[in-house]
């Protein structure tokens, strides 16, 4: 305490301090020597000599003095900080309601932000969980307008060997399928399997935790080899190391387990094991095919554009060498990160980040408001301190300490809120929104974000009230009669108006997304069945070697299931009327027989779906012209097809019925064209509610294009289709006596729809929740300033009452001020919405960013909630008893 006094009283520069000391010393020593009999000149000389090198002495002392001052300042600063902290904690304990409200507000704001930060971090900031992930790219084949085609294996092999910019290129099939293995209890069980080419683990840079991964020699031998995921190895084989090198029977064939890779490794989709797909020495026609999603690892330091140019040159060479299959085909590469984190997810992350950012701003404004009110009430305290010698900076520092402490407490509570959000989030996020490789983690990065946010927030919302509270003149405050000076009212009104504007902005956003959701849910799907059960039935090829046997199996299953009580209709199909087709992006080119021939690469493409005769009645999809498939369409009958409305529209007004169309796999030879006569037109099915344009589609009868891996669709007479699952499975088992058929992907069609609209629901729900939070916070702000101003004006209002003001007058007096704040804020918010609405334009469907209905609804909601928050203080003002108000000081 005494030491710190020096800082206040000791105001001499250091050099002068030491100079004076030495001067005095030499002077006194000289006098002493003169007194002893030396003559003055000699005395002075001796005195100087005793001091030695004055410059060095001074330098040493200045140096020591400087260090001393620094340490002293530090000690003083720490002492003040300790004092401020003690004082702050006492203040917070003394006003528990204030502390609780402020902490909760901050905890909500910071917590919501940290939760969303985890999402943004996972999707936008963090690299994918592979070594040197920046060098990984997806390589798509392109042909015509299709820029995201899966590649053919021979092309991929040539990219691998001929490119100079890639270390290695490998591929996998994007869909995860299943394989049947004898289960623990002897029953057949299906486990998920993904096909990969031999180099895939090397490309991703994944090291096995047991055994090895695939080698190109495996491919040369066309070996049946699999690599297990750690999770499957653990769950099914109890991490048995002796399994490596052993054979297990899958789909009736022996496969060798060569190794295990860590749990963290996923490509696209979760799978139990990876099976090697041999791609060496394929027949030449395989080059025309597709089906591999290709990933490449570029050499270090290669830019994506350079890799692109290199591969384009390779592809051009392949086109020259293999004109039959490769004409019109090229490549496009994109960073793997972009492939895995789609634009939709990026936009959603950015949207949420923006929204929670606004919520945090409102939280800050609210707490700043509370602090302002408190600081205003404490003006006298500050004036007294200033009068006692505390500088303005010192008082501001005290107040900043208070706000930072508050924000740290709020941040700690926010951390808990964020943790809670991340615990619950995975259950709320719709399937498929987040790729498998992305996980939301509560980690050091989130904690760091929280700490950073808390500190920033503490300074931001603290500095303004602190400055405001200290702009006064002490004598005026101390002399004034009132308990507090009503400063800062204007600032507080502005803050609340800003809060209202922000809340309005978020409400408009939520409104637009809700309208989108409604539009998405009420769109015309084309088919009318309410509930349909779907399951993938895979009669393994080897069990039913001939088309006749397969056809018989499918017919038998259909009959058996149709006989199940409660079943109304049954059908087979290669695709669901919603979501991805089994073929992925696979599409056929087509041409109308008799029309002038069109160059291969310019031919239109169509989706191709194989269905059994009862498909249209099962999902209740109307045939708008012609007929549905029926018993006339047998294996040996003339080829027929049904087209959809979008297809019919491409014919330029001609009637499609009776027309012949030729369709074939893009890139295949002319001779492989299939011709069929159009016998009917089916109503348009919308695969996705927000798809940009209607799909062109051709339906072909099952009898004319048999394949395994068929979807069985079952429609119940009434009620929930999922309830039929056990009965249907039992029916299939009665036909499949050897238990070799794999039945999987059991879903109800309505659940698939749900997941297709899931992201709209998720976005709308999240933004609506945050907007509601913002509205509530803003209204707390409105209530706060109003209640406070009524309290400040009790005396004035009392006088008015005493002078005969009616209740209505008082109400008006109080409400006009609040209405101005809310109205101004709302106007600003609506204006901002007009500007910012465009930013979410791509997420909207069936509604424009300037939707009048949404804007009106927001205005109404705001008016109602504002009325509620104004009502309390206004009622209180109207009940002021003049006698009490004037007596009570």
């Amino acid at each position: 305490m005494k030491r710190s006094l020096r800082a206040w009283l000791w105001r001499v520069p250091l050099d002068q301090e030491i100079e004076e000391e030495i001067d005095l010393h030499v002077e006194m020593r000289t006098r002493e020597l003169i007194a002893r009999g030396f003559d003055p000149a000699a005395a002075r000389e001796r005195a100087m000599a005793r001091m030695g090198d004055v410059a060095t002495v001074k330098r040493t002392c200045v140096d020591l003095g400087r260090k001393r001052d620094r340490e002293m300042h530090m000690a003083q600063w720490l002492g003040e900080l300790r004092h401020d902290l003690r004082f702050t904690l006492r203040q917070l304990r003394a006003t528990p309601t204030f502390t609780l409200v402020a902490t909760l507000t901050l905890a909500l704001g910071i917590g919501a932000n940290s939760g969303i930060f985890a999402l943004v971090d996972a999707t936008l900031l963090r690299p994918l969980p592979y070594p040197d992930a920046g060098r990984l790219v997806t390589i798509w084949e392109t042909s015509g307008t299709n820029t995201r085609r899966f590649a053919s294996a021979p092309n991929m092999l040539d990219w691998n060997t001929r490119s100079r910019t890639f270390e290695k290129v490998a591929g996998f099939t994007p869909n995860v399928g299943g394989m049947v293995m004898a289960g623990v209890d002897g029953m057949a069980e299906t486990y998920s399997r993904q096909w990969v080419t031999s180099g895939i683990f090397d490309v991703f840079g994944v090291k096995p935790i047991a055994g090895r991964t695939f080698l190109s020699s495996d491919d040369e031998r066309r070996a049946h080899v699999i690599v297990l995921s750690e999770g499957f190895w653990e769950a099914r084989f109890n991490r048995d190391p002796s399994l490596i090198g052993r054979e297990i029977k899958l789909d009736g064939i022996l496969w060798t387990v060569v190794g295990v890779v860590p749990k963290t490794f996923t490509i696209l989709g979760r799978t139990s094991f990876w099976a090697m797909r041999p791609i060496l020495n394929l027949p030449p026609r395989a080059r025309g095919g597709s089906g591999l999603q290709v990933v490449g690892r570029m050499k270090p330091g290669i830019a994506v554009a350079a890799g692109q140019a290199d591969l384009e040159a390779v592809a051009a060479g392949l086109t020259r060498e293999y004109p039959d299959t490769n004409t019109g085909r090229s490549v496009r590469i994109e960073p793997l990160h972009d492939t895995m984190i789609g634009t939709d997810l990026k936009l959603t992350s950015m949207l949420f980040l923006g929204v929670v950012g606004f919520v945090l701003l409102i939280c800050c404004a609210n707490v700043a408001n509370l602090l302002l009110a408190r600081a205003t009430a404490r003006t006298r305290e500050f004036a007294v301190r200033a009068a006692l010698g505390a500088g303005r900076r010192r008082i501001v520092r005290q107040l900043l300490t208070e706000s930072v402490v508050l924000s740290i407490i709020g941040g700690a509570a926010g951390l808990a809120v964020g943790w809670g959000i991340l615990e619950v989030a995975p259950r709320l996020i719709p399937d498929g929104l987040l790729p498998e490789t992305v996980s939301l983690k509560f980690d050091a990065r989130v904690i760091a974000f929280c700490a950073f946010a808390a500190l920033g927030v503490g300074v931001v919302f603290g500095i303004m009230p602190a400055w405001q509270a200290t702009s006064f003149s002490s004598p005026e405050v101390l002399g004034s009669e009132s308990r507090a000076v009503t400063g800062g009212g204007r600032l507080r009104s502005l803050l609340v108006a800003g809060e209202v504007a922000t809340a309005v902005l978020l409400l408009v956003g939520a409104g637009l997304l809700l309208r989108t959701l409604i539009a998405v849910q009420s769109y015309d799907r084309g088919y009318r069945a309410e509930s349909v059960l779907s399951m993938l039935v895979d009669p393994l090829g080897s069990s039913y070697p001939t088309p006749e046997a397969l056809q018989q199996f499918l017919d038998q299953v259909e009959q058996e299931v149709r006989a199940v009580p409660g079943v109304q209709d049954v059908a087979w199909s290669t695709a669901l009327p919603l979501g991805e087709s089994l073929y992925g992006d696979f599409a056929l080119t087509y041409e109308v027989a008799g029309d002038p021939p069109v160059e291969e690469s310019k031919r239109p493409t169509t989706r191709y779906q194989v269905v059994s005769g009862s498909y249209f009645s099962t999902i209740d999809l109307p045939i708008v012209a012609g007929r549905a498939f029926d018993s006339r369409d047998r294996r040996d009958s003339a080829k027929v097809c049904i087209v959809n409305e979008a297809f019919a529209r491409t014919l330029g007004g001609r009637s499609p019925i009776g027309m012949r169309v030729g369709f074939r796999v893009a890139g295949s030879r002319e001779g492989e064209t299939n011709y069929g006569e159009i016998v009917g037109v089916a109503k348009q099915v919308k695969g996705r509610p927000d798809e940009p344009k209607d799909y062109v589609q051709i339906y072909v009868p099952l009898a004319h294009d048999l394949s395994d891996d068929m979807l069985l669709l079952v429609r119940p007479r009434s009620g929930d289709a999922a309830a039929l699952t056990p009965a249907v499975r039992a029916a299939i088992a009665r036909i499949d006596k050897e238990q070799l058929v794999s039945v999987r992907d059991i879903t109800a069609l309505e659940d698939v729809e749900w997941s297709a609209t899931g992201r709209h629901r998720f976005r709308a729900a999240m933004v609506a929740a945050f907007a509601a939070l913002a509205l509530a916070l803003a209204m707390v702000g409105v209530f706060g300033i109003l209640a406070y101003s009524v309290q400040q004006r009790v005396r004035e209002l009392g006088v008015r009452r005493a002078l005969g003001a009616r209740t209505a007058d008082v109400l008006r007096l109080v409400a006009v001020n609040a209405a101005g704040v809310v109205g101004g804020g709302a106007a600003l918010g609506l204006l901002l919405s007009l500007v910012l609405g465009r930013l979410i334009g791509t997420m909207l469907f069936g509604v424009t960013p300037f939707d009048a209905l949404t804007f009106t609804a927001v205005a109404v909601v705001l008016a109602v909630t504002a009325a509620v928050s104004i009502a309390g203080p206004a009622w209180r003002a109207s009940r002021i008893d003049p006698a009490v108000a004037l007596r009570d000081r």
Partner: protein, 114 residues
């Protein structure tokens, strides 16, 4: 160490300088010259404080918090920086005295061994 004088009492005193300064200040606050003079007089001029090392020593003591400074008036009526012993300085002095006692007893035992 070219500036270090050879075997004079001052050189021996080097380690004891702090203790001497602190001890002198127990008589009350005083400025640098007065401290030096007091030591010289007390020891009958046997110990001469090197004026050049006096001030760095005092600054060191102040930095350690054993003494603190205040402005006062010198005998000449001029402003003078006075050093005052702090509680920490008093405690330090006690430690130094104990150390010195032990040290000098040890040295004496060797030097005057018969």
């Amino acid at each position: 160490m070219p500036t270090e004088p050879s075997k004079t009492p001052n050189a021996l005193l080097h380690g004891a300088l702090d203790a001497l300064l602190l001890k002198t200040l127990t008589r009350g606050p005083s400025h640098g010259y007065a401290i030096a003079r007091s030591i010289e007089e007390t020891t009958g001029e046997a110990v001469q404080i090197e004026d050049g090392s006096l001030y760095p020593a005092l600054y060191r003591l102040e930095r350690k918090g054993w003494v603190e400074a205040e402005w006062g008036t010198s005998e000449l009526g001029r402003r003078a920086k006075l050093y005052r012993l702090t509680d920490a300085g008093r405690a330090q002095l006690a430690t130094e005295l104990a150390t010195w006692k032990k040290f000098s007893a040890g040295v004496s035992k060797v030097l005057f061994a018969s």
